[in-house]
Amino acid sequence: MSADDQSERLHEAVRRACADAQPLLVAGSGSKRFLLDALVSDGAALLSVAEHVGVVDYRPDELVVTVRTGTPLHDLQGLLDANQQLLPFDPPRFEGGGTIGGAIASGLAGPARPWRGSVRDCLLGVELVNGVGERLRFGGQVMKNVAGYDVSRLQSGAFGSLGVLLTVSLRLLPKPAVERTCALELDAPTALARMRQWARQPLPLTGVGYQAGVLWARLAGSEPAVAAALAELGGEPVADGASWWDDLRDHTLPVFKGDAPLVRVIVPPSAPAPLEGSVVEWAGGLRWFAAEDAAHGQRLAAEAEAHGGYACGFDGRYARVEHSVMAEALRIQQRRIKHAFDPQDLFNRGLVEMDAD
């Protein structure tokens, strides 16, 4: 075992925790800790995977990488970039940090989500230690695989509550030859209508967002395809367009930086409200608000739910598994899943209300 491969140490730590019924706070670099710090119980011992690093297998012509979960996103993305490839889900790097394990566990995808897929869409396989201390592999390194239940994809968005991820295998995409951004000045409802119109056309889009009177579109592909699409969309080409998408993804735009609580609203992309005052991505499907006060937050939640969506404070309670929009039967099933992997509720205790079942 090389120093980079901490599998045995992590496995042993979980086995010990099982024997001692010791709750664990499973963490990578800690860049997304703010999404669960209000939930995780005080008595949890830190189990860091941050030193479990390195690429286990990467053959660029397979379009697949297998990597230890503590590997910094920065390192992995640098390697892929050098090989003209990318992570399809384009994860946020808060404060520039983050590990690939944390990116998978949080399930947060960047602006390209509607076109290049969600985090779990590119997750082909995992190796994990479950809550009874078993080291298990699911899925694999191939795109098509229907052997057994898809336990791999279940880990995305579970915030480590079902197992300690040791390695993940991910599907990659080739980097497009060119990428360009254009901007159009429009009011919010008109911009939303334009977004939906574009969605029905075969355009090489990889980002559609809106902020303060400006509709942003990112196109990627071969030079002639992107040029033709730019002409069709109209609007002004933006010379340094890439930086706006980076700021949107990594939450360095002003709306993310103020003191007001940040609310993440998920709605069907065409939903007319809540809209005003938001920063929009995913062509309408994701909207960020700085909540003015508690009443505003409640109004956002009510409007989102009325249109078939939901709202979540992007704060220390975000990672909770249950949500008020879930019907009782679904809550119960979520708890049963947790129980199937981690019956003692050792991992990130607090994310699931186990005793309520």
């Binding site: 869409d121 078993e134 098509k144 229907v146 898809d150 099933q333």
Partner: protein, 484 residues
């Protein structure tokens, strides 16, 4: 289990036309696409509403009667094979497209809607549903969800799991689970992904929300011939390595090519050791540049012939041979055994060579027709069941091929599912602890094992009986659908 009480309750809950009890009527439900394995069901129930599905589940759970969900019955691994004393819950009458939401580019459909019918229903809007399993004219979307079906175009557009955005599921106790929806994200664990490919073991799907995509404005198909399978496999790897993700990338070996040519006269070069078909799509400018790129790679890696089809009718002609490959192979021998392993692309040339070695060793021909772009092999082992020992040999080759797939980092089933056919091979791919985790997942949904018992996940007892020798294999999937 009290079958008479259960039947009485079902008769009271559902109209008479929804129940089939006589053996003649239940005969077509004895098997799915894996036709050699037959099992008469006790009863077939064909509900017409979700409320009736719920009634069936409640009654069966109460009386401890197993329930096997069934879509169109085109599955190739026996996933919908009935269980003795069980009910077949056929969902074919839930066949309505409930909603086409153009603003959000989704359609909400019932599980019995045929795969192709979704694309047909939205074609006039320039939209389509991407996954296209070869049985798409007949197979149902509910069955696609159960099997996580693929198709020729899933290399670029993904499997069912990537194209289904919402499910409405009834649990075995009749509770409704709404998973996903028209939104691009949902709170909690991703049960939608877990349900995809779960072979009717976790719940009964009563509604599916699918993603609709704009039809690409242009496409082209390249036909490339090579004088060795290795050269064709190298070309496949290079196409991907050059940053191109084709809409489809298929390969056939010489035995398959010759069979096809004799059968449908597609105009394939039969002297070639291997053929590649590559489809590229997108805006016209992109298609043109990608045709150029693929052509250049093919020539560099020794293509002995290269043709390009731009017009739809030319493209259809290129595909016709590929789509006829399975029935054509069926003409080479009285029986064939179709495998479904997936391997990393880099291992293609090596694994094809070793399959040829196995064919020689056992003295049975193996034709190869497969989804090269995603490494999904479909070796067709040709044999004659009436010759003593040949079937056992075919099974032996099949078992060794799947063993090989697992050994190079692949899987025993890429798209056909485990069903009953590959239960023994599952013992090779997964450890006892991993299988046990699967059982705990199953228990979390269906603690009494009412839904599709005995499928998809082998018991530990079975695996210990199989031991190191896991060759069992089902039998031949032959029905009259295209298989590719």
């Amino acid at each position: 289990m009290s079958r008479s009480l259960a039947l009485k309750a079902l008769r009271a809950a559902l109209p008479a036309r929804c129940l089939i009890t006589d053996p003649k009527g239940t005969k077509p439900y004895e098997t799915d696409g894996l036709t050699a394995l037959r099992q008469p069901p006790w009863l077939v129930v064909l509900p017409e509403t979700e409320a009736q599905v719920r009634q069936v589940l409640l009654i069966c759970a109460q009386h401890d009667v197993p329930v096997v969900a069934r879509g169109a019955g085109t599955g190739l691994s026996g996933g919908a094979r009935p269980v003795a004393d069980g009910v077949v819950l056929g969902l074919s009458r839930l066949d309505q497209v409930l909603e086409v939401d153009l603003d959000n580019c989704v359609a909400r459909v019932q599980p019995g809607v045929r795969n192709l019918a979704i694309s047909e229903a939205v074609a006039h809007h320039g939209l389509y549903y991407a996954p296209d399993p070869s049985s798409q004219i007949a197979c149902s979307i509910g069955g696609n969800v159960a099997e996580n079906s693929g198709g020729v175009h899933c290399l670029k557009y993904g499997l069912t799991v990537h194209n289904v955005v919402g499910l409405r599921v009834l649990t075995v106790s009749g509770e409704v689970l709404e998973l996903g929806g028209k939104t691009l994200d949902s709170p909690g664990y991703d049960l939608l992904a877990l349900l995809c490919g779960s072979e009717g073991m976790l719940g009964i799907v009563t509604e599916v929300i699918v993603k609709l995509l704009p039809r690409p404005p242009a496409s082209a198909v390249l036909l490339m011939a090579f004088d060795s399978a290795a050269a064709a496999a190298e070309t496949v790897s290079q196409i991907i390595a050059q940053g191109l993700v084709p809409a489809g990338l298929e390969m056939m070996d010489q035995l398959a090519t010759q069979a096809v040519e004799d059968f449908v006269h597609a105009g394939y070069p039969t002297e070639a050791a291997a053929l590649l078909l590559c489809e590229v799509d997108g805006v016209p400018e992109e298609v043109a540049s990608n045709v150029e790129l693929v052509s250049r790679i093919a020539k560099e890696y020794g293509a002995i012939e290269l043709r390009v089809a731009h017009e739809p009718h030319e493209q259809a002609a290129f595909w016709a041979g590929r789509k006829a490959a399975f029935p054509a192979a069926g003409r080479l021998a009285p029986d064939y055994y179709c495998m479904d392993g997936t391997i990393p692309r880099a291992a293609l040339a090596d694994v094809l060579g070793r399959i040829a070695g196995l064919a020689d060793e056992y003295g049975l021909p193996v034709a190869n027709v497969f989804h090269a772009g995603d490494g999904n092999l479909h070796p067709l082992i040709l044999y004659d069941a009436s010759v003593p020992g040949e079937m056992a040999k075919a099974e032996a080759i099949g078992g060794r091929i799947l063993e090989l797939c697992v050994a190079v980092g692949g899987t025993v089933t890429g798209e056909h599912g485990v069903g009953v056919e590959k239960l023994d091979q599952m013992c090779v791919q997964f450890s006892a602890q991993e299988l046990d985790q699967f059982f705990r997942v199953k228990d979390s949904f269906d603690p009494n094992g009412t839904l599709n018992p005995g499928k998809a996940i082998p018991t530990l007892a079975r695996c210990s009986e199989v031991g190191g020798m896991h060759v069992h294999g089902g039998e031949l999937p032959f029905n009259n659908l295209d298989r590719f």
